[in-house]
């Protein structure tokens, strides 16, 4: 029969809604209240030194809204005022300098969109299929447009003649929080594309992402994107801080460990359908969608398999891939109501193709935590519900 939502006069079509003075800074409408960051309490000892996950299953496009972009703190998110902010450059520079926030705003600025992925993203899936949802398996990622000053500009302001040959020099960066989260970055990368950023998606950084200033290290593991950036030191050697030795190193099957594994390799995931995004509409037209990215350049293509990797078809990229930024893909298809084993596979401009979990295990074993960029499988049953599974190779 006729739809009462159409045939009956609705309250919202008769009375008035909210005024422009009601929400000076808006939040999502209440009906979207489940699109939130979530954490996994058993992962860490304390939520102050922990991580949560971006609800990538519920988002579309490529830009991650700041309010639901994942957080990772080592000593909690701090409240640091712009007026109290100082940035020091010291070490092997011609003139050690101190900048205020206002000083930074007077340097020529750049805008770039980059993904930030935690090296531990998908790390809980090394040994098996563990967490049920793309938010949990792949949600340690966000993608924002950053505005700021290039790190090169600031280093050159301090002068690099004192550093001599730059090829073997390092830049040590640390934050103002209690963890300080110091990391060493090769000078070549520092001068290439790093940004000292103060805006994301057009507005000030959120506290949890390093307000007022964070470092952006395109394509490299998120831990190096130091938040509340307070010091940049030019050094002759890597400092070998806790975060670059005891953490963020990759132990192989024979017990040796890789260090300095900074680049995030090409990776993708189907965000819908997925465990948190079942098919609810039955047979017929179905949009399969997901995200792809590579720390080594632009995504050039994404393949999708519905049968656990027996056959693959090419998905459509919403836009041509951009370097070190998320790319949205779609496969506009028909669902016949049968089971699917959904997978996606990213290609980047270097010719690299995202490997299966079996391929990665063959090289690295199962001891690793970080840098798991394997192909993910969702089992979609005849009801349209999806589950995180592993399949035979």
């Amino acid at each position: 029969g006729p739809d009462p939502l159409i045939t009956e006069k609705q309250d919202w079509a008769m009375s008035t809604g909210a005024g422009v003075d009601e929400t000076p800074y808006g939040l999502p409408i209440k009906y979207e209240g489940d699109v939130i960051r979530r954490n996994v309490p058993w992962l860490t000892a304390d939520p102050i030194s922990s991580i949560n996950f971006t609800p990538i299953h519920a988002l579309d496009g490529t830009i991650t809204p700041q309010g639901c972009a994942f957080e990772r703190h080592h000593s909690g998110a701090i409240e640091l005022k712009k007026e109290d902010y100082r940035l020091m450059i010291n070490g092997l520079v011609d003139q050690p300098l101190v900048f205020t926030y206002e000083d930074l705003e007077r340097f020529p600025r750049v805008n770039h969109t980059y993904f930030l992925e935690c090296a531990a993203n998908t790390g809980m899936e090394w040994a098996g299929a563990q967490l049920n949802g793309s938010q949990f398996t792949h949600g340690m990622i966000h993608n924002m447009e950053y505005s700021g000053v290039t790190l090169r500009t600031l280093l050159e302001e301090a002068g690099l003649d004192a550093a001599g040959e730059l090829k073997d020099k390092w830049v040590y960066v640390e934050g103002a929080d209690a963890s300080s989260n110091g990391r060493s970055i090769p000078m070549e990368k520092a001068l290439d594309d790093c940004i000292v950023a103060f805006k994301a998606n057009g507005e000030a950084l959120r506290m949890e992402h390093g307000y007022p200033v964070r470092l952006v290290v395109p394509g490299w593991e998120g831990n190096m994107w130091v938040k509340w950036l307070r010091r940049i030191e030019v050094t002759a050697q890597a400092v070998q801080s806790r975060e670059e030795t005891s953490k963020y190193t990759d132990t192989l099957a024979d017990g040796t460990s890789r260090k300095w594994t900074w680049v995030m390799d090409a990776k993708s995931v189907v965000t819908s359908p997925s465990p948190q995004m079942p098919i609810t509409h039955g047979k017929g037209p179905l949009v399969i969608t997901g995200l792809a990215w590579s720390g080594r350049g632009a995504i050039t293509g994404v393949d999708v398999s519905k049968d656990g990797g027996k056959t693959w078809e090419k998905a459509r990229l919403a836009k041509p891939g951009e370097k070190m930024a998320l790319t949205r893909f779609y496969l506009d298809t028909e669902w016949n109501g049968e089971e699917m084993l959904l997978q996606s596979r990213a290609h980047d401009e270097t010719g690299y193709v995202q490997p299966t979990k079996a391929q990665l295990r063959e090289v690295r074993g199962e001891n690793s935590v970080y840098h798991n960029n394997c192909i993910q499988t969702w089992h979609v049953n005849t009801n349209g519900e999806a589950e995180n599974v592993e399949v035979s190779s």
């Binding site: 209440k30 009906y31 979207e32 209240g33 489940d34 939130i36 979530r38 954490n39 996994v40 058993w42 860490t44 000892a45 304390d46 020091m88 010291n90 101190v98 000083d103 040994a127 098996g128 299929a129 563990q130 967490l131 049920n132 949990f136 040590y172 209690a178 963890s179 300080s180 110091g182 010091r231 030191e233 050697q237 400092v239 806790r242 030795t245 132990t251 017990g255 040796t256 460990s257 890789r258 260090k259 390799d265 656990g308 027996k310 056959t311 693959w312 078809e313 084993l341 290609h347 690299y352 995202q354 490997p355 391929q359 001891n367 089992h379 589950e387 995180n388 599974v389 592993e390 399949v391």
Partner: protein, 340 residues
């Protein structure tokens, strides 16, 4: 090309922030500390999370043990079994530990703690004294256990376009592992009503069961009722106290759903007997006070917050104390506000 922005960094400023210590000893301050002193300092400041013997408590990092486990399926990575450089220990402890009370240790204390961690890993003897002079003589067991990223050689040649199959890639496909078998995914509320109060939605995020969304709003509605306070308190001062309380949050939880962590839940602590949480393991000092009927009144809380170890010598609370009287008053007011 230089814009002349910023100002020269003063030597005192560089000295205050330039604390990093490198593997070759650059940045090490002059000083020393013994295993013997380290054991005491570690017990007072570190053991609450890392265990008396650096063996770790709960999910907190284990600092000792794990020798020979790196090739196992579940390697135990500690300072002894994994860390390649001793400088990393000194660098990290001096700047970032103890958790929630960073940069309160003297340089000698950090030497002593470092020495004790070495001792707990059987790397040095119990009479060892670590100093800036013998620092580089210590050999770390896993110093040779690292290779520089070799993905370029070991992986990039395999994971290529040339090897990407599109048709008849395998004969059969079977499901070999399922996430629902493990069942470790947090449950989430799925109702839009739950979002009417964003803060509450976040707090009750894992409380509601996805399969029974109708129950979720009830849980949210229940929550505010518990926040009703009967005790009189100065709301402005309590709000100030909430800010100061951040220093306490590393170990103590308050409010709805609060759990014991490193320290006990502090709901209802004001006016309650000392050691008021039944299932928390308090120090013997505090249990003694509990048995003697001592109560956390204004004066006793103020005394304790100013210098915890001055009141209860054996307290497990590693926090040194709040220095300012107005901060103490504010925190007490905040504790009153959460004491219902």
């Amino acid at each position: 090309e230089k814009l002349g922005l910023g100002r020269p960094a003063l030597p005192e400023e560089i000295a205050a922030w330039n604390l990093d210590v490198s593997p070759n000893g650059d940045g090490l301050p002059v000083g020393s500390g013994s295993v013997e002193d380290g054991e005491m300092i570690f017990s007072e400041n570190c053991a609450v999370c890392h265990g008396e013997f650096a063996e770790g408590v709960g999910n907190w990092p284990k600092l000792a043990g794990g020798d020979g486990t790196l090739a196992d399926k579940d390697p135990l990575k500690t300072v002894g079994s994994y860390w390649p450089y001793l400088s990393t220990v000194y660098d990290y402890v001096r700047r970032s530990m103890p958790f929630g009370n960073a940069q309160t240790m003297t340089d000698d204390d950090v030497y002593a703690i470092t020495a004790y961690i070495l001792y707990s890993n059987y790397i040095v003897e119990d009479d060892f004294v670590l100093s800036n002079e013998n620092f580089l003589d210590v050999e770390m067991p896993n110093a040779g256990g690292f290779v520089v990223d070799d993905r370029g050689e070991s992986e990039y040649g395999i994971f290529t376009e040339a090897n990407a199959c599109y048709h008849d890639c395998k004969d059969t496909v079977e499901i070999t592992k399922r996430a629902t078998v493990l069942d470790v995914t947090p449950e989430e509320e799925g109702t839009d009503q739950a979002a009417a109060e964003p803060a509450a939605a976040t707090e009750t995020e894992v409380a509601a069961v996805a399969e029974t969304p109708a129950e979720a709003p009830a849980a949210v509605e229940d929550a505010p009722a518990e926040v009703v306070t009967a005790m009189a308190f100065d709301a402005d001062l309590a709000a100030e106290g909430e800010k100061v309380f951040k220093k306490c949050k590393a170990c103590h939880q308050v409010g709805d759903g609060a759990k014991n962590r490193t320290g006990p839940v502090l709901n209802g602590v004001f006016g309650a007997p000392v050691a008021h949480v039944g299932d928390f393991k308090y120090s013997s000092d505090m249990m003694g006070a509990h048995d003697a009927g001592t109560v956390w009144d204004e004066a006793h809380l103020a005394e304790f917050l100013a210098k915890p170890k001055g009141v209860y010598k054996k307290t497990k609370m590693t926090f040194a104390g709040l220095k300012k009287d107005d901060e103490i008053a504010a925190v007490i007011e905040y504790l009153k506000s959460v004491s219902q």
